[in-house]
């Protein structure tokens, strides 16, 4: 365990220096836009660390909204005729700067699905493994943050390689993994500080941040209840009434992983894509026979909450499929609040 001190005046220089070995990704606000999004930072672009939380979660770094799985051609003149070729993609080391701890922890939940002993999604895994996560601790959590009730929190280290803590004129960088250590070295940040004192300082900040989080959820009863009891509960109609069945909650959520596969053919060649999809859309479960097992809105709304708060909990016995970032609540056009739904399910 060690802690490095990074003077803010060395911040930009270090980032630029690390470019010789890493691609940099971070939140960046384009000119004229209202909020920053995670993107690959061009030379000279600095990650925006002022925004508490990005509207769009950083899941797209490893799970883009649309991704080509393979290309093909049926042109007999081509030497690739009738071959399925995975497109070249840059999987060189990539440092994700300023990711929030719960967003990084979300990858661990998604990993349970994309990286299993039986099956490994190469697109997700390759992109994930290329990343070194340099997280930014949250000193001032926002109102919809309930990450302390999930397994995460504003200073959660589980998904990170380095945890940065903003100490006003400098950052303290807690090194969590060797990957993280390697990145700090590449950036030339090597000023070690007294570990015990620094950890104490960080823990103090952590406690301060955690007590600021007023919203709490609990799911101890959900665990005990049977699936059918929850499935047949009478509150679903009420929960679902306002829902307009858009995809905002699922698309913004860092832990939602569903996708749809689409082929696009142009002449003799084409591509197969993986596109985000979500349980809120009727088309998601529409069978080619015309039957839709989740044909009406209330079934889809129930599915979203049951998956996150019950099925996942039962299947992996490792908490809920939610890190408590609060995006779904904050950006739902009609204010459907997962904290309230969880309360209903737990009562």
């Amino acid at each position: 365990m060690k802690v490095i001190k990074i003077d803010k005046k060395d911040w930009v220089g270090g980032l630029e220096k690390s470019r010789s070995a890493y691609r940099l990704v971070g939140p960046f606000k384009e000119n004229g836009k209202q909020f920053p999004v995670f993107k690959e930072l061009d030379k000279g672009q600095e990650p925006d660390l002022t925004t508490l939380n990005t509207v769009i979660s950083p899941k797209s770094i490893v799970f883009p909204q649309s991704e080509v799985m393979f290309e093909y051609t049926t042109d007999e003149k081509s030497e690739d005729c009738n071959l399925l070729k995975r497109p070249e993609k840059n999987y060189s080391p990539c440092a994700v700067i300023g990711i929030r701890p719960y967003d990084a922890a979300a990858f661990l939940l998604v990993q349970k699905n994309f990286d299993t002993p039986d099956y490994r999604d190469p697109y997700w895994c390759d992109a994930y493994e290329a990343c070194t996560f340099i997280g930014m601790a949250i000193n001032n959590p926002d109102n919809t943050d309930f990450s302390t009730s999930t397994k995460s929190g504003p200073f959660d280290e589980s998904g990170l390689d380095v945890l940065l803590v903003d100490m006003k004129d400098h950052f303290l960088a807690k090194v969590i993994t060797d990957k993280g250590d390697a990145y700090l070295k590449a950036a030339g940040w090597t000023a070690k500080v007294d570990t015990d004192a620094a950890i104490k300082q960080i823990d103090e900040m952590k406690n301060k941040a955690e007590v600021k989080i007023a919203s709490k959820i609990s799911f101890d009863n959900i665990e005990k209840k049977s699936i059918m009891e929850l499935y047949e509960a009478d509150f679903w109609e009420d929960v679902a009434f306002a829902c307009i069945n858009c995809g905002t909650c699922t698309y913004l959520c860092p832990t939602c992983w569903c996708f749809d596969i689409q082929d696009e053919n142009h002449g003799k060649s084409g591509k197969r894509f993986k596109n985000w999809d979500g349980c809120m859309f009727p088309l998601f479960t529409h069978h080619s026979s015309g039957h839709n097992p989740r044909g009406i809105k209330v079934m889809r709304v129930r599915q979203r909450f049951m998956h996150k708060l019950k099925y996942f909990l039962d299947k992996y016995e490792d908490g809920i499929m939610c890190v408590g970032c609060g995006r779904c609540t904050r950006f739902c056009p009609v204010n459907i609040d997962i904290r309230n739904v969880c309360k209903l399910m737990n009562s």
């Binding site: 797209s60 909204q65 991704e67 142009h266 060649s269 894509f273």
Partner: protein, 52 residues
């Protein structure tokens, strides 16, 4: 369409009865001339989807 950035003159409307063959020829000629004068269209063309 024009409001969205397609140049004026690329989209034409005409009412031609099946009996008006000369008008039809004339309209087709006018349209092709007008469109040729504008040059190749470079909007709303997807050779393949551009994604990340």
């Amino acid at each position: 369409m024009e409001h969205m950035g397609i140049e004026p003159g690329r989209i034409h409307f005409s009412w031609v009865s099946s009996a008006e063959s000369t008008k039809f020829v004339q309209v087709v000629n006018e349209v092709t001339e007008a469109v040729k004068a504008l040059g190749p269209n470079n909007h709303f063309i997807t050779k393949e989807a551009k994604v990340a």
